[in-house]
């Protein structure tokens, strides 16, 4: 039986150099992949670091299964996995040494360390490199080791900051399948600005904008929310510049040498164009950021 975990983030406020970075950030989530979306500089990494206990908020609470993790004297690292954006370890030790270190520092109590590590290594296809120095790893192997260390000990919450950065398309597919598996038993909180990934794997989306969580829901809900406002029109190439001055375009697609299909946000009840039926998450996200 898989236990459902619960993460509650309540009224988080974070200031830096007298600037308000986060204001009353609140959300609740449970097992599955939760994607935290936001433009660059919106404060995604700050939220992730606050939940990871690496930054102290000015205000607010973070509860994991009703236990406050920020106020507890010993942050429960055995219950939480963290993969930072720039995952790096000392280059002169092997991946095995590092996993072994993570196992020890988390004081995991599984009966056999070797068995646990061997299974993890096999699961993330790290056998080929695991005893080699980390400095010799390719970007893909580094990322795999990063996820492996984050999921070691079957944590209840896994925090992953910008997971797809630096991965090629094949590695991203591979990565998505790992995430799908680990999120069955844990809350997997991912911060990203790559919409395409979110569309493929996330169960829930959080959109961070102007220091607040502005949206929480599924991909479908976000699309649904934006559907009445996204229109499209076929525009002559020589009229495109003038058209773009009138509306906020979100996508352009070439139909022929002279014709472009333009998706745009219809906020002011423009009479031209038709309601768009094929709305992607990216379209919905851009709508949300501009509404």
């Amino acid at each position: 039986m898989i236990l459902n975990n619960q993460l509650i983030v309540e009224n988080i406020q974070y200031n830096y150099a007298k600037k308000n970075i986060l204001q009353d950030v609140s959300f609740t989530c449970s097992n599955g992949i939760i994607a935290l979306l936001g433009n660059n500089g919106a404060g995604k990494s700050t939220i992730m670091k606050i939940i990871a206990g690496m930054m102290k908020p000015a205000k607010g609470k973070v509860l994991l299964n009703n236990q406050s993790i920020l106020t507890s004297q010993n942050y429960p690292i055995h219950k939480i996995g963290y993969l930072p954006q720039d995952f790096d370890i000392y280059g002169n030790v092997s991946g095995y040494d590092f996993l072994s270190y993570v196992y020890d520092i988390k004081k995991l109590k599984q009966p056999s360390k070797k068995q646990v590590l061997d299974e993890l290594i096999a699961k993330f296809n790290l056998e080929e490199v695991i005893y080699k120095k980390f400095s010799s790893y390719s970007g893909g192997y580094k990322r795999r080791l990063g996820i492996a260390q984050a999921v070691l000990g079957e944590p209840k919450l896994i925090i992953i900051d910008e997971p797809s950065v630096g991965l090629d398309p094949i590695q991203r597919i591979e990565f998505r399948s790992y995430l799908a598996e680990i999120s069955r038993t844990a809350i997997t909180l991912i911060s990203t600005h790559i919409i395409e990934d979110v569309e493929l794997y996330s169960d829930e989306i959080l959109i961070l904008r102007e220091q607040h969580i502005q949206f929480q829901g599924s991909v479908e809900q976000l699309i649904q929310l934006s559907t009445p406002h996204i229109y499209s029109a076929n525009v002559q190439v020589d009229e495109l510049i003038a058209f773009k001055k009138k509306v906020r375009t979100i996508e352009e697609k070439r139909i022929s040498d002279t014709l472009i299909k333009v998706k745009f946000i219809n906020n002011q009840g423009e009479t031209f164009g038709n309601k768009e039926k094929e709305i992607s998450l990216e379209n919905a996200y851009v709508y949300f950021q501009n509404k």
Binding site: A52, M54, Y75, L83, D86, I89, V93, D104, I105, G146
Partner: protein, 511 residues
């Protein structure tokens, strides 16, 4: 608890791997080992000489530890910070890791020392030498590690390595620059054996006295200071407590800086002191340990009726009581003289008992250990150093000395029982330390353990051509009429001879 300790030791072991699996470590340990092995013949002379001469290897070792610590500290990995929670925890683990590495290297050197050690070195001196090595090795390397951690923390790029090298360079340069000009800075800022700036006294090994302890304490406090600064910067809690501690530690260092001194020998015994008595016999009940304690009973005959008599006794000693014929009398001290007040009658023999004690650690003008008393090493040449009350004019007297000491003592007087010496001589000389005994043609030679008898014999031959040595001594050397030869130490700056005859004993200066 046990599980927690087990996990913690494994984490330390991870850092041990991180540190040891680096090219810097291979180079550092290779150079240290190479330089140490090149000194194997010096260990064969004396452990202390080895520690003194091997400072270049120590420098390489310090460089390795400090640069390694800098690089490990400046690389503040997010994954590590998440797992270890705070930087201070990380710093503590780094300290423990380097402590472990230092211990491993130190153990190898100890085995090396034991393997190549001079077979004439006795157990106690071997132990003292190893302890001295451990103190220097740990303190110098931990200073290096502390500098590295601190620089790596505050400057999180490659500049921190340059800063570390600069600071460590200062610790090597300052004692050299101020050597001979400022004893305090030379001793306190030297990470290695202080004797690197002067000739090593093999006979004494090392004196674990106040100066030595202050010197080493200064380095330990320095390590604590740097660690506290890092603690203060990395961990937000209990800042008041730690700033208070930092203040105490820095104040202690300043206290050491302002109070550190090496007692020096000055040749200012009075030469014009009136002697109105004649000493018949001198009995001593002497304890030689970290201090010299003596109950000196002198039988003397006043030559005239007088109210005072004066005896020479170095100001190093505190006189506790003076008795005459078991009656406590008053006395005065000034300029190495004890003046005793008593209605002395002409030709009426009295027994003067003087109880005194003092720490004997006196260096010459170049900080060479010259007069000393420790549980293992003793250098008390009677005529040069007034370590017992004596008359200004030298005349032969009967000595009867009972000694309490853990060292094997050599003297110009005859040993009648264990730690009991008797004989008629101008002065009583006592020596102990790293000696080896050789007996050839019925003559006993007490030599420093790194000396060869052939070297001494050659030296004696050169003395025969010296115009400053008396004909009487030359005849003694030529005819080999001496029964024993003891190598000791006394200052020559006051015009003393480097070779002296006391009864059947030839005394040869080590310097």
């Amino acid at each position: 608890m046990l599980q927690s300790l087990k996990s913690e030791s494994k984490v330390i072991f991870y850092y041990f791997k991180v540190t040891s699996k680096s090219i810097l470590t291979y180079i550092g340990i290779f150079l240290f080992t190479l330089l140490t092995f090149m000194r194997s013949s010096v260990v064969g002379e004396s452990i202390f000489t080895f520690i003194d001469y091997n400072y270049v290897a120590f420098i390489f070792c310090n460089l390795f530890f400090s640069v390694s610590a800098t690089q490990l500290m400046q690389k503040q990995l997010e994954s590590t910070l998440f797992l270890e929670r705070n930087l201070w925890q990380h710093v503590k683990r780094l300290y423990l890791t380097y402590f472990l590495m230092i211990t491993v290297l130190c153990s190898f050197v100890i085995i090396f020392i034991l393997f190549f050690n001079n077979p004439s070195t006795n157990y106690a001196f071997t132990l003292l030498g190893i302890i001295h090595f451990i103190v220097i090795f740990y303190s110098s390397n931990l200073v290096g590690v502390s500098i590295g951690i601190c620089a790596g923390y505050f400057i999180k790029n490659e500049l921190s390595t340059i800063l570390t090298l600069l600071i460590l360079g200062l610790f090597t340069a300052i004692p050299r620059i101020v050597a001979g000009k400022n004893d305090t800075l030379t001793a306190l800022f030297s990470l290695y054996d202080d004797h690197q700036f002067i000739m090593t006294n093999t006979l004494v090994g090392i004196l674990v006295n106040t100066s030595y302890l202050m010197d080493k304490l200064f380095l330990i406090l320095l390590i604590i200071t740097v660690a506290l600064i890092v603690r203060f910067a990395t961990y937000p809690k209990e800042k008041w407590l730690y700033s208070g501690l930092l203040l105490v530690v820095i104040s202690s260092q300043l206290l050491i800086l302002t109070n550190y001194s090496i007692p020096k020998f000055h040749y200012n015994y009075p030469t014009t002191l009136e002697q109105n008595y004649q000493i018949i016999e001198h009995n001593m009940n002497l304890t030689l340990s970290n201090k010299l304690k003596n109950q000196s009973t002198i039988s003397l005959i006043p030559l005239e009726k007088t109210d005072t008599i004066s005896l020479l006794l170095d100001d190093t000693f505190d006189v506790q009581q003076v008795r005459i014929n078991e009656q406590t009398v008053s006395y005065q001290r000034s300029n190495h003289v004890v003046t005793i007040a008593y209605p002395f009658q002409a030709q009426q023999q009295v027994e003067v008992t003087i109880q005194y004690e003092g720490t004997v650690y006196i260096a010459n003008n170049i900080n060479f250990d010259t007069f000393y008393v420790s549980p293992l090493a003793i250098n008390l040449p009677g005529d040069s150093f007034k370590w017992y009350p004596e008359a200004p004019a030298h005349t032969p007297i009967n000595f009867n000395i009972k000694i309490g000491s853990s060292a094997t003592i050599y003297s110009n007087l005859t040993q009648t029982q264990n730690f009991q010496f008797q004989g008629r001589a101008y002065s009583a000389h006592l020596f102990a330390g790293q000696y080896k005994i050789e007996e050839v043609d019925g003559i006993r030679y007490m030599l420093p353990i790194n000396y060869q008898l052939s070297t001494i014999e050659s030296y004696l031959q050169t003395i025969l051509d010296s115009p400053t040595v008396s004909e009487e001594i030359k005849k003694v050397i030529t005819d080999k009429t001496y029964q024993q030869l003891i190598v000791g130490i006394w200052p020559l700056e006051d015009g003393s001879d480097s070779i002296k005859m006391e009864g059947d004993t030839l005394l040869l200066n080590f310097i």
